[in-house]
């Protein structure tokens, strides 16, 4: 990393064996705007809240969901500026893979490399962990895939997941409505409903569902 005056890690073990800086990073993620992802039979959807601090902000200048390659996208919960660093590094890694192997990078490889970067920042000298969790959605030879990467650098594949505020409600809602044979349109519909969970009351949601079904 080269922060030579700080040749010691800022993330160190507590007596109980925890890496407290990572836990704090997860807290920062947990207070970020909700985002979620759902893997359908024929695709993946990721979605997020886009609450802007004022009506004066030009909403067209803000894009939280970013493209990493033509077939891989990413959304984050947590600190926006940190996510830009990861997006930039991931895009570069995807490009380097493409130059070397003359093939588009598989989703798992890109996730692994991004996670490795996040892990580096929990161990290198003079830096703090990233204050974001990422949901990476991609479609390659192995079909649709959804991965969640945490500030620690650990990653898991999910059928559906949520991050940020209200995550327990969102996950409970997703568990109820998820089916393995969901189509992409259903998944998009469910994603939007789940985000609205935080805004509408349960009664209003029931009404809406009855109308639709």
């Amino acid at each position: 990393m080269g922060d030579s005056q700080y040749s010691f890690s800022l993330t160190t073990f507590s007596p109980s064996g925890k890496l407290v800086q990572i836990e704090h990073a997860l807290t920062a993620v947990g207070s970020g705007q909700t985002s979620l992802g759902i893997k359908a039979a024929n695709g993946v959807v990721i979605a997020t809240e886009k609450k802007l601090p004022s009506i004066l902000v030009d909403e067209t200048s803000v894009q939280k969901i970013q493209i990493l390659t033509p077939n891989i996208g990413v959304v984050y919960s947590g600190m926006g500026p940190d996510s830009r660093v990861l997006v930039r590094k991931s895009r570069k890694q995807a490009e380097q893979y493409q130059r070397l192997y003359k093939e588009t990078i598989p989703v798992t490889q890109l996730v692994r490399e991004t996670a490795a970067v996040m892990q580096e920042f929990t161990q290198s000298g003079g830096v703090r962990p990233f204050g974001v969790s990422l949901l990476v959605a991609g479609f390659d030879d192995k079909g649709p895939q959804l991965y969640q990467v945490d500030p620690s650098g650990s990653y898991f594949s999910w059928k559906a997941s949520a991050m940020g505020k209200n995550v327990s409600n969102a996950k409970a809602f997703l568990e109820k409505r998820y089916t393995d044979d969901m189509e992409l349109d259903d998944a998009v519909h469910t994603a939007i409903l789940t985000l609205k969970e935080g805004v509408l009351t349960p009664a209003e949601i029931e009404d809406y569902l009855q109308e639709v079904e």
Binding site: E23, I55, L56, S61, R84, V85, R128
Partner: protein
Amino acid sequence: MSRGSGGGYDRHITIFSPEGRLFQVEYAFKAVKAAGVTSIGDKLLDPTSVTHLFPITKFLGLLATGTTADARTLVQQARNEAAEFRFKYGYEMPVDVLAKWIADKSQVYTQHAYMRPLGVVSMVLGLDDEFGPRLFKCDPAGHFFGHKATSAGLKEQEAINFLEKKMKNDPSFSYEETVQTAISALQSVLQEDFKATEIEVGVVREGNPVFRVLSTEEIDEHLTAISERD
């Protein structure tokens, strides 16, 4: 068991607090507010040397709110970066690219312990080939957004409230109306009528994309128009 406040260092360098906050970044925001409005009443001070409005290139301007020293460092680096961009890519650096560059640099300071965040909020303005006039605001945390109108500094919330009211129905202002809205916002928030020598105004406009600082005469004209209107 949680270890409390990270050994006390979470206030000194940019590591996370137990609540997931970065205190150094929050303190940088406070420094922006504490810098205050510069008084130009001092007889021994050369008033032309006191400025917060900096041309970065012929077509890009930057208004720096906060610690003047930090602002000058940022401006110096931004000027260098914009010049390199023009040399490397053969066209002028667009507003959003500069804003992103400033924001990404600020993000690095929030993540690496060896540099503190800068106590500056920058507003970058310019005329984009595709999108027309653009205004971006960058803060010490590394956030940057495009704005229809915005404010920074000690009374920024009052100014933003004033501007929100004016911009609520998405009006399209003419050049004169835009300048006068900006000056009125300052007047209303600081609750004083100032002389033309006490404020700085910088503009870009369609048809004349060069970033220009208005002269005292031009500011006077606008001030007169405002008082006649009211």
